[in-house]
Symmetry: C2
Subunit: 336 residues, 2 copies
Amino acid sequence: MNSNSVTIAVDVMGGDNYPEAALLGINIFLKTNKNVKFLLFGDENLIQKYLKSYPLLNEFCEVIHVEEKIGDNWKVVEALRNGKNTSMWQAISAVAENKAGAVVSAGNTGALMAISKMVLKMLPKIDRPAIINYLPTKKNPFVILDLGANATCTPENLLQFAVMGDAFSKVVVDVKEPRISILNIGSEEMKGNSTVQEAAKLMTDHKKLNYVGFVEGDQLFDGNIDVVVTDGFSGNIALKVAEGTSKFLAWWLKKPLKKSILAKIGFLFLIPSLLKIRHSIDPRKYNGAMLIGLNGISVKAHGGSDKIAFASAIDATYKLIKGKVNKKIEEELNVE
Amino acid sequence: MNSNSVTIAVDVMGGDNYPEAALLGINIFLKTNKNVKFLLFGDENLIQKYLKSYPLLNEFCEVIHVEEKIGDNWKVVEALRNGKNTSMWQAISAVAENKAGAVVSAGNTGALMAISKMVLKMLPKIDRPAIINYLPTKKNPFVILDLGANATCTPENLLQFAVMGDAFSKVVVDVKEPRISILNIGSEEMKGNSTVQEAAKLMTDHKKLNYVGFVEGDQLFDGNIDVVVTDGFSGNIALKVAEGTSKFLAWWLKKPLKKSILAKIGFLFLIPSLLKIRHSIDPRKYNGAMLIGLNGISVKAHGGSDKIAFASAIDATYKLIKGKVNKKIEEELNVE
């Protein structure tokens, strides 16, 4: 470990495949990046056997034994009231106490959001946190927020989302001057509701944002936009419809394989190409939705994460810390 | 033609491939269904040569010569002010005057909506028209509305949409007792905004609706829901994101074909199966978005429709007339 090292707190008790997905994911990450120290929050008995088997984990991880964990079905109120002694809460607290630069968990999303908000507090000049992530396109990945934290938003909320998306795109996707857009149901200026129209004006007037206009749902994957701003209702629907459509089409494409011997032969020839494609648009590469807008970095790995997906979440988290994403947001809000 | 015959007014001057797509589409339809008479609105000089070449068109179509047409780029205000002598307006008027049971156009969407609303007026007890269509799933197609006519909606609007979607599902998709759902960002009762929560209560209380709860974007294509109700903002985004995702994935799948000889060979073996799939989920089969809620049937064929797509739109229109969709809606609204 050198002086550039950062520390990431990990709640290893969250998600469907705990603690293995988190621990083996960290191990994958450590193979190519040894500048990170990990604080592992969870049941020591479960964790120790992995530390014994994986020398990298043993070298770069410190275990903080926590017996309790947040249940997958806990309601937010329940988590806030009874969650203090859980692995998730303790991992988040490590960020608030400056013992770690970020926290990662594959646990209960509502609980992670609520506890992060309570423990880390908001960034100055940000009213609401948003869920942010990025998705592949024909060219560069695009960043999209909010993905579900806020069902209704004001134009001012959307402007703050734009500033946060701008910083995220620069830091994680490495875009120099991100093209910012608002998701709408038409590209003409007068389309949509008054919220998006008013937000468009605010973004046009903002000195530091490269606002390029409205974008429609069918243009998201063309690669001509770097940041897509939307309220949490539309953003969540966009994300999930994209997911549902992909699954549906995959199901359709596989159907003939069950019936036709010709199709089976054809598929064998296609395997090498499909594996290449799979690598490029593997959803596990796009894991690690950040709760952006908080005074600290809190990353949600997908509940179904395997080790590859968890390693991606760690990788995104590392970039967020190294890129000082929150400092960038504060700077942009100050020039407003 | 027998006593069961219906009449459909067609604006043959709309869309990218006018008048050919409309005329050859009607010809395809007439090959299997001779119970429809068509009133063709448009330039007689362009239409006549098709009538000479296609005996079915000659037998079942009457031409109403109209010189003017609505421009593709006309604004709504422009269309309402200057559109009276166009093929679209005249075709819509034929429905208002009971000369036709429905109108179909592949022309300017905004103009078709505005003129239809002005000329046909609303159904009793319906406050706003909605754009409705259906999409394929793993099982039966599902019906979804509103797809973009109303950017913001009240809970009462959504209830009326549910009633209209229920009737459409029965008439066009042939579902006996459609399962009605509201698009939301979570399936739990407390999720989303107050509009969807209030709408859910109204639908639960409605005697004639089989309301089954919220549905999320990733579940739309599973085939467990028959009608998806949403405001025009979310609905338009859902539809277009599904379209964009499909195009993006098709682009990805074709990529290796350019580079790999193995992939090319594999693709040859797959062609028979792919053709079968294509037939099942061919977007041209799902053409013909209806503007529902008006006192008359007005159907929008996709601007890019070819003859196959136009034939589908005619087929859907025929079902809407024969199924007396508007009468069904009025009956359900009366038992409220």
